[in-house]
């Protein structure tokens, strides 16, 4: 089972400086499913974070949720944690 601190560290490790994690739900089942609520200062930072996640082997099945763009971007994101090394 993927330890929570490692899941948290792997996710935040991929975040650009301008992206902040507001909340993270981790559900352990057949997969380790994550629901993240993220705040990014710019669209570029948000896109960079999504790119890093897509390139990472530690996460799969990325599913971005609704975005709210009011200066900063607030968005949700669902994904599966694989725990594989990058």
């Amino acid at each position: 089972m993927a330890p929570l601190p490692r899941v948290l560290a792997d996710l935040t490790g991929l975040m650009p400086d301008d992206v902040r994690l507001r909340s993270l739900s981790v559900a352990y089942g057949d997969d380790v499913t994550l629901d993240a609520s993220v705040e990014a200062r710019s669209p570029e930072a948000w896109d960079a974070f999504l790119d890093r996640l897509a390139a990472s082997r530690q996460f799969r099945a990325l599913s971005p949720g609704p975005e709210r763009r009011e200066g900063e971007i607030r968005a949700t994101l669902r994904m599966v944690y694989t725990g594989e090394a990058s």
Partner: protein, 163 residues
């Protein structure tokens, strides 16, 4: 005169026979009966003592089973998980701790619902301690950014109770 003497002799012989054989046989029989009675009483006493000892042994065995069951039962696991969760929270240094431990159903011995706040290292320490040191299988967790750190809401179970 001779006949009288002969009769007297026969009478004395009969008396001697009676005293020597019949009475001795009666005494032997009475003695044997006494011995039999004593043996029977002794056997009855031993049987009664044995039954009492068996009853005490059975009672002790039941008591041991009840005590063992109480020590390993679900109720005890609930208390143990509660103590473990409190110890983990104390070691991690988190605050605003809320927890609820309920009895589980096999194969789950007890279920834990815990929330706490702290810095990232504190919350991470708590999240790491519960599964690794306290045998809690995490079902779900939620981290939220709060002022001054993170809050953690965690649900987990401790296996047992029928495994």
């Amino acid at each position: 005169m001779r006949i009288r003497l002969l009769a007297l002799g026969l009478l004395l012989a009969a008396a001697a026979l009676h005293l020597g054989v019949t009475l001795t046989a009666r005494e032997t029989e009475a003695s044997a009966q006494d011995a039999y009675r004593r043996a029977r009483d002794a056997r009855r006493e031993v049987t009664q003592r044995l039954a009492a000892a068996e009853r005490r042994a059975t009672a002790r065995q039941r008591l041991r089973a009840v005590l063992a069951s109480a020590q390993k039962g679900p109720g005890d696991e609930v208390a143990r998980l509660r103590r473990d969760a409190i110890a983990a929270a104390r070691n991690a240094g988190v605050t605003a701790v809320r927890l609820e431990v309920t009895r589980g159903r096999a194969p789950v011995a007890a279920a834990l619902s815990l929330s706490a706040e702290g810095s990232l290292p504190e919350v991470s320490a708590l999240a790491a301690d519960l599964p690794t040191l306290r045998a809690v299988v995490v079902e779900s967790a939620r981290f939220d950014a709060v002022q001054g750190g993170l809050s953690l809401e965690l649900r987990g179970v401790r296996p047992g109770g029928g495994l």
